[in-house]
Symmetry: C2
Subunit: 118 residues, 2 copies
């Protein structure tokens, strides 16, 4: 389900949280589904539980999951999930567009890229 890439410069916890985000947003985990426990996922991936904990803490901080001590970590409401992810993507899109504007790229030049990608 989750593939770690140790050659990737991104930290492991981020690879995990990003992958989980994606799975949740596309609906692979319905809302309120319990995620694998910190320790079991650690065993599955052969890494330290703290790294999983960090990934989960990040997901909770950002609002993707909610955690209950003694019970587990659970997927937040589907609608909220998507909104969060959309906001993330919009932000990066806006950054790129602003940079394009800053160096004087024309609307045509920008639109050409956009249209080629849909």
């Amino acid at each position: 389900m989750i593939n770690l890439d140790y050659k990737d410069k991104r930290p492991i916890y981020e690879q995990i949280s990003d992958k989980l985000k994606e799975l949740m947003v596309i609906g692979a985990f319905p809302e309120n589904t319990r995620l694998p426990s910190v320790r079991s996922l650690a065993v599955d991936l052969s890494i330290n539980p703290n790294t999983i904990q960090r990934a989960y803490a990040e997901l909770e901080r950002q609002g993707y999951v909610y955690s209950i001590k003694g019970k587990g970590s659970f997927v937040a409401e589907t609608e909220k999930l998507r909104d969060l992810k959309v906001d993330e993507i919009k932000e990066r899109l806006i950054e790129a567009l602003d940079n394009a504007k800053k160096i004087g790229m024309s609307d045509e030049e920008i639109m050409k890229v956009v249209k080629n990608r849909r």
Copy 2:
């Protein structure tokens, strides 16, 4: 000309090379202009010359400047500069667009962001 932000998480050498890229691309430094010397810029910014050297080496590696031992570092051809920067921006734009597609954002949703930014 260059403002360093020590609160920024980006390394200093990157802040410098990025700022110089921008200045060169918008034409603040015409092509073949000599950049400040490694040592003089280091004094201006009150940092170690090695950090400037790293910024310049990065710029040269990426093709934004060319350096001549004993003479200085010089701005590459204007056209080349812009192409390099455009390629960088396009790459980020494409990444963002692909992510948008991955989570199922509609064309309308994407276009709304794009239009609001021009």
